[in-house]
Subunit: 332 residues, 2 copies
């Protein structure tokens, strides 16, 4: 099977909203009037971002999910994406499964594949995603990292640390029973981009980003962009995993025993969570709760934005904790 | 140097036309009204698309050039691009040179870097580029592959085959004197995207694409998309290299001796040319000549679009030639 047959067979589908899709030198999009095009790109490298033997259907899902998560963090409505794929060879069952996982998530978000590139080489998946954000009265409705203000509440969606728990188990660092691993592994390999929550938070949240490298490290980007500091309740964040139904089941049924600090490390710096971390003024707490309900996405208040620069950690009782929870860096 | 320092040091620059550039979850573009956004993505893999030891400044240039070439083929005005980079490690002189070559070409075309991703892994460069094409009275001005009509002339810009000549010399398949190699190598490593010609051909050309995998193979895409056939004067195409000042110098001064068929193979299926291959009705020949002059880009008529399906080759005298000039396929 040649390069063009491969594209035609696995990746060419009828055009939906785009003016021109896969198959010409460029794709063409006609944006709506008074709309920002939100653009993000993520590259996934085999052996770095995923194990080479990862289920290709899940990998197809995750490749798009991490990009949709960036749109979610901006409050953008997904529109389209391009896919560049470097493949060691043509493995038809692998490609069919990859495409199935990819398009299932794309279709769920009305996000169409409009172009791409296919080449031979070490397995590498690079997706660039496009979304729409309305501009109202000259003002973009996009959620940025720079809008956090002293006094704002700090929230996180869903749970933290389960992806890292699965990774540590797969790397043999933690012993996890098979059923517990299967549950945590879904979070690692098939994360849910919080698109509906991001849309519901437009006009409510003051700043947002998605947690990919570890919650505290990613929070640092909001603090730096906004010129503010924060105090985070480490226990509130940690309980998202330690007291989650998953953990209770795991600890009770499977006898997983991790120290308090191990649970904190997973939650605070685990990475690969693809949850939204966002801030909002205290007077819109009911609006945040409404956004959570309407998007059917749990959110938890885990801290406070402050004038004083820097990041402070406390336990549930407000006592200070040392911050030893480093974030992931590809080159550190 | 960590990932974020690397981005800040080499790739973050003040925002120009974008509403939001590098550093948030998404970049934001506000398109002009009645404008198509043209989008293309190309992935360059070390050891596949370039030698690992390629001069990084030229590689930075080429990584963007091959993408701008796709915009040129659509008649799109370059606007912005994203860069995803997988690097084996942080080599500061390499990164500085790569960024210098990249931004020199970007600045020459007013095309700004608005976002990206950086990761550790085998060297891989994935750029997604954005351009603008006006929509006049509901009709896109984009040049597509599907517009060729029987009776149209077939043209190619610049010269063909020099990039492949350099590649064959670097691979040791052809013996090329150092000075001749240096000249051909510039065409391989630092191709010129024909952006000005593409813009000048809007409303003139009936179909266009850029030659990347070999001229005859790429012509096949126009024929297939347009549902037409063509006759190509192989000698007219081959003389672009065989009678070029470069070749005359090379043959005269350096005694390069290739057979007629070797020259034809270079010109007809060499690849990596990044020239525009386009069609236009015979009655707009003067407009094509004017587009060539205004863009200061030579164009040569090398054939004719016909109703009869398929691709026919002739020599200068119109006698049929067998087509043994296969195009490049990453998986063939």
């Amino acid at each position: 099977m040649g390069e063009f047959d491969l594209i035609a067979r696995f990746f060419k589908r009828p055009v939906q909203r785009a003016a021109l899709g896969v198959g010409d030198d460029c794709a063409l999009l006609l944006p709506r009037p008074d709309t920002h095009i939100a653009i993000s790109t993520d590259m996934l490298v085999s052996g770095r971002h995923f194990f080479p033997e990862t289920d290709p259907m899940r990998l197809g899902h995750k490749s798009l999910a991490v990009n949709l998560s960036d749109l979610a963090a901006c409050g953008a409505q997904p529109l389209a994406f391009t896919l560049a794929l470097s493949l060691p060879g043509v493995d038809e069952p692998w490609l069919a499964a990859f495409a199935q996982g990819l398009f299932a998530l794309a279709d769920a978000h009305g996000c169409e594949l409009i172009g791409g590139d296919t080449t031979a080489g070490p397995l590498n998946i690079c997706i660039t995603v496009f979304g729409e954000v309305p501009v109202l009265a000259g003002r973009s409705q996009a959620l940025l990292r720079s809008g956090a203000r002293p006094g704002d509440d700090l929230y996180v969606s869903g749970t933290l640390g389960e992806a890292r728990l699965a990774l540590d188990a797969l790397l043999g660092k933690i012993n996890l029973p098979a059923e517990a691993l299967a549950a945590a592994r879904l979070r690692l390999e098939q994360p849910t981009p919080r698109v509906a929550l991001g849309l519901a938070l437009r006009g409510v949240a003051s700043a947002a980003l998605d947690v990919s490298d570890g919650m505290l490290g990613d929070l640092g980007h909001i603090l730096q962009s906004s010129g503010v500091g924060a105090t985070v309740d480490a226990d509130a964040a940690t309980e998202l995993i330690a007291f989650s139904p998953f953990y209770i089941r795991a600890a009770g049924q499977f006898g997983i025993k991790l120290s308090e600090d191990q649970w904190r490390t997973l939650a605070l710096s685990g990475g690969d969570d693809y949850e939204l971390l966002f801030t909002a003024p205290a007077h819109v707490r009911e609006a945040v709760a409404q956004a959570s309900r309407s998007s059917q996405t749990p959110v938890t208040r885990i801290g406070q934005i402050e004038t004083q620069q820097g990041l402070r950690l406390t336990n549930r009782q407000g006592q200070p904790l040392a911050n030893t929870y480093a974030s992931f860096d590809h080159f550190a």
